[in-house]
């Protein structure tokens, strides 16, 4: 085999990423097959996605897509600020009353509009993160979300947060599962092999 010298691309790595995302199709079945020599129980990861910030949602999506790629079942309970990134792209102001509308006026919903928890600098921080991301071939939250849902990561919206924020099921992306509450979160967290609150 011949291996050619390869340098990290400094332009348009997103094309490769887009191709990588496009190649993702369905949950990998490899690890779901039980080995003949050892009975395997599918391992489970549960993440509570509480924050709506870029530097928290990003690792949630990286870990959940990697868990699915590792053949694990992964469920993400999406609550409080964490719900806003999962609002559909075309929705700008959501909610029933003025207070709920104010929330999404001040914090634009959608996966492309995440703020940093520190060094946000009126959007300068996220812009710089986006530029660095492209330079180093890192998948964006949107791309990771697409990969995660394609591989069967289950996102469960918190019913209470939806009520309080005035979010309807149709405001959220179609890939979200059925809304549930704290008892469901507790049940899946205690049954999982690992559970994280991010």
């Amino acid at each position: 085999m011949t291996t050619t010298t390869y340098e990290r691309p400094t332009t348009a790595p997103s094309d490769q990423l887009a191709k990588a995302i496009a190649d993702v199709d369905g949950r990998p079945d490899v690890a779901f097959e039980e080995a003949a020599d050892r009975p395997v129980r599918t391992k489970e990861l549960v993440i509570v996605n509480w924050s709506g910030e870029l530097d928290k949602v990003w690792p949630v999506l990286i870990l959940s897509s990697t868990a699915a790629a590792s053949g694990m079942r992964c469920r993400v309970f999406v609550t409080f600020w964490g719900l806003l990134p999962f609002v559909k792209d075309q929705k700008r102001i959501v909610g029933e009353n003025w207070m709920q509308k104010m929330l999404t006026l001040m914090q634009r919903p959608g996966i492309d509009h995440l703020k940093l928890s520190k060094m946000n600098f009126l959007g300068m921080g996220p812009w710089m993160m986006g530029t660095l991301r492209k330079k180093y071939g890192v998948a964006s939250p949107r791309e990771l979300l697409e990969a995660a849902t394609a591989m069967g990561v289950e996102f469960i919206p918190c019913q209470m947060t939806m009520d309080m924020f005035g979010l309807k099921r149709e405001d959220l992306i179609d890939e979200m599962g059925d809304p549930a509450g704290a008892a469901t979160a507790i049940e899946i967290m205690t049954e999982a092999d690992a559970s994280l609150f991010i």
Binding site: T3, P13, D23, P28, V30, T66, V138
Partner: protein, 77 residues
């Protein structure tokens, strides 16, 4: 002596976790017991492919590094 592998995933230029995600998708297209080659430039992939193989039960048959490119040969379980 390097093995000649027909199936390959080219994850060069991609950062964590895309080399793993791509590999997980691609490996299901080959038969159990078949070999599979992955090329990556992410230095973290050295530890990550070893961990992924332990988690999934696939076998890491061979690995090498050449001019910043990491090559992994995997056998599907």
């Amino acid at each position: 002596m390097t093995l000649q592998i027909p199936q390959q995933v080219d994850a060069r230029g991609l950062s964590c976790p895309m080399p793993i995600v791509k590999t997980a998708q691609a490996i299901k297209t080959i038969a159990s017991g078949s070999l599979f080659e992955v090329l990556a430039t992410d230095p973290g992939s050295v530890k990550d492919f070893a961990a992924w193989c332990r988690t999934t039960g696939n076998e890491l048959v061979e690995q090498s590094a050449d001019s910043g490119v990491y090559r992994f040969v995997l056998r599907r379980k």
